[in-house]
């Protein structure tokens, strides 16, 4: 079935700014499909984003109110807008660096308050926009423009972090799992409370290039191989498990 998606795209927008192979476009598409399936009124949607490639997913593309803010501060801006006008359906879409590093404090506090915000974190495990520096989400050992020998530190498990802080809907999917992702997005939109979806999104330009996955399809294949469900993870040996990414719903 062909869907009429134009109504979700702001008049005047012609193309997305993302690099070839970037996962952010697939995520963008998934969000709009979820909104369409729920028949959401774009006039009541507010999309808030920080700074970074991911922050450009809604702004200017989405045909609702969009608030493109400062690096790390999207959740604080969103909190003000949602509290003052609770009729708005407020979705925060931003990057891993934006939400969990510079904005990490706002993230845990927003989760603690359990305010009705739908947070989508586009996790490409790197600072994409600024040229591929290491992020709080870069896996240990991986290379970036500031960790030429490999990242010496452990990454955050973002889902565990926000769940511990009090988020009431928490899920992780990859853009290579679009159907499950759309279902999760729909659940988050319907959920009343703080919902958080971490979406793994490949960045061949900044991440793949430095980690032996130059071509976009290599990163997609890598995600397809590594993303498994909790059930699939059960029987695996520790060594095997260590390179896997567990996807699924973690809260409630």
């Amino acid at each position: 079935m062909v869907r009429a998606m134009e109504k979700y795209i702001r008049t005047g927008v012609k193309a997305t700014p993302f690099c070839p192979g970037c996962g952010h476009g697939i995520l963008m598409n998934s969000i709009l499909r979820a909104l369409d399936e729920l028949n959401m009124d774009m006039k009541k949607m507010l999309f808030v984003s920080g700074i970074g490639c991911a922050a450009w997913i809604p702004s200017p593309h989405f045909n609702g109110d969009t608030l493109h803010t400062l690096h790390g501060r999207a959740l604080a801006f969103a909190t003000g807008a949602k509290l003052y006008n609770p009729d708005l359906c407020v979705m925060v879409i931003s990057g891993d660096g934006d939400l969990s590093s510079i904005g990490g404090n706002h993230l845990i506090h927003a989760a603690r308050r359990n305010l009705d915000l739908k947070v989508v974190c586009a996790n490409n495990m790197i600072y994409g926009m600024t040229g591929g520096q290491v992020a709080s989400t870069t896996p240990k050992g991986f290379k970036s423009s500031t960790t030429g020998e490999g990242n010496p530190h452990r990454p955050f498990d973002l889902c565990k972090l926000v769940a511990a802080a009090g988020a009431t809907y928490v899920a992780r999917y990859s853009v290579t799992q679009p159907l499950a992702l759309i279902q999760a997005l729909k659940k988050a939109i319907r959920h009343v409370g703080f919902s958080f979806i971490e979406v793994l999104s490949p960045c061949p330009t900044q991440f793949g290039r430095r980690n032996l996955m130059d071509r976009p399809e290599e990163m997609i294949q890598d995600l397809l191989r590594r993303c498994i469900s909790e059930e699939e993870a059960e029987g695996l040996a520790e060594k095997e498990l260590s390179e896997k990414i567990i996807t699924g719903e973690f809260e409630p």
């Binding site: 702004s59 604080a76 006008n85």
Partner: protein, 379 residues
């Protein structure tokens, strides 16, 4: 665009309020219905009163996780249609600077009260200072304007907070009330009248929210949820909000307009007061608490027959250039006492043709009459 008169939300009367309490009441009177803040001495009483009052008038109060979150939340609320405010002191004011620039560039009305304390850094938290005057103008990066007002009494904590909201709504600009510990904690008579004049941002459906025909104009500002499909960004943007991050013309036009809309209306915005200036040979230029001391000293010296007067700056930014220039032509010497190392004195020097002397004190205490007398004797 016109103002309207409303019934004061607080009963008419004369009260014995602290400056901080009065500021909260001024905000409520102006129609402030959203407050986000983070505790810091000596401003916290504003937040505490707002928590109580907003509940009473059906507004929203939230204590955020830090000052960056506080100012960001009020900007978000402002775009959702609220008149919104936060209050802080030096360290918090420093943290807020990036978002103040965002508010200036996105033309977001909001009010920030800075109850200044003795800096730099954590400095003396319970002591007074006015070291944030230049930061108020230059604290965020790039060329932008804010409006900054300087109350000298509890009454003006109320009046100028109210005026701050009105100016902020009229010009779509962040407005700062640059108070200090001595005024914030002072108790004094506060008169509240039965009616207050308030301004609201103008709205016009379908009009571009970030551009006007006139060069120094103020565009209309709709709110989220009104069906306008707003596109707000802190990146350089065209009249409709589309990002234009490599168009030199769009950038210079926008930067120019957000500056000109304030500078061209300077006479409308700035307020000063003259004391004994008709025949003065020397004059003090003072603001905030220090203007109280200065006026006291001027009165004393006048009793002795000395030809001294005072110009009080009620507005600090945009700087009241005209009043200062005029004074500089009239008198032989201008003396600027202030609780910093000469921040306003430096500005006065730019516009005064006569000699300008900076009298400064940065010991965490107010400048008392004796200190000014002594300083004056030396010159």
């Amino acid at each position: 665009m016109i103002s309207r008169w409303i019934k004061s939300p607080f009963p008419k009367g004369v009260y014995y309020f602290s400056g901080n309490e009065a500021a909260a009441e001024g905000a409520i009177a102006a129609g402030c219905r959203f407050y986000a803040g983070y505790p810091i001495t000596p401003s916290s009483e504003i937040m505490e009163r707002m928590a109580v009052r907003l509940k009473e008038v059906g507004g929203i109060f939230i204590q955020m996780e830090d000052e960056i979150a506080s100012i960001s939340a009020i900007i978000g609320a402002s775009w959702a249609g609220a008149k919104a405010m936060t209050a802080t002191s030096g360290p918090g004011f420093s943290l807020m600077q990036e978002s103040i620039g965002y508010a200036a560039f996105t033309e977001t009305p909001c009010v920030i009260i800075d109850v200044q304390r003795a800096g730099p850094c954590t400095g003396q938290a319970t002591r007074v200072g006015s070291g944030d005057i230049m930061q108020a103008k230059w604290g965020s990066h790039g060329d932008y304007q804010v409006i900054a007002l300087s109350p000298w009494s509890v009454q003006e904590m109320y009046d100028l907070t109210l005026r701050g909201f009105n100016l902020s709504e009229r010009y779509r600009v962040p407005t700062l009330v640059m108070s200090d510990e001595a005024i914030g904690h002072l108790r004094e008579n506060l008169s509240i009248h039965s009616k207050v004049e308030i301004w609201d941002r103008k709205k016009k459906r379908g009009r571009p929210p970030f551009g006007t025909e006139e060069e120094g104009g103020v565009p209309p500002m709709p709110a989220f949820g009104e069906g306008e499909r707003l596109l707000v960004t802190g990146s350089t943007h065209d009249a409709f909000g589309f990002r234009k991050t490599d168009d030199p013309e769009v950038h210079s036009r926008l930067v120019d307009r957000i500056n000109q809309k304030i500078l061209r209306n300077r006479t409308e915005i700035t307020e000063t007061e003259d004391y004994y200036l008709e025949d003065s040979e020397r004059a003090m230029i003072a603001y905030g608490f220090t203007a109280r001391t200065s006026l006291y000293v001027v009165h004393q010296l006048r009793k002795e027959g000395r030809k001294i007067g005072m110009l009080r700056l009620k507005t600090l930014w945009p700087f009241p250039e005209e009043a200062v220039t005029t004074l500089g032509k009239r008198v032989k010497k201008v003396i600027v006492p202030e609780m910093n190392l000469g921040q306003v004195a430096g500005e006065v020097k730019k516009f005064c043709a006569c000699e300008v002397i900076s009298l400064h004190q940065t010991n965490g205490e107010v400048i008392g009459p004796e200190t000014i007398m002594e300083m004056l004797k030396k010159i």
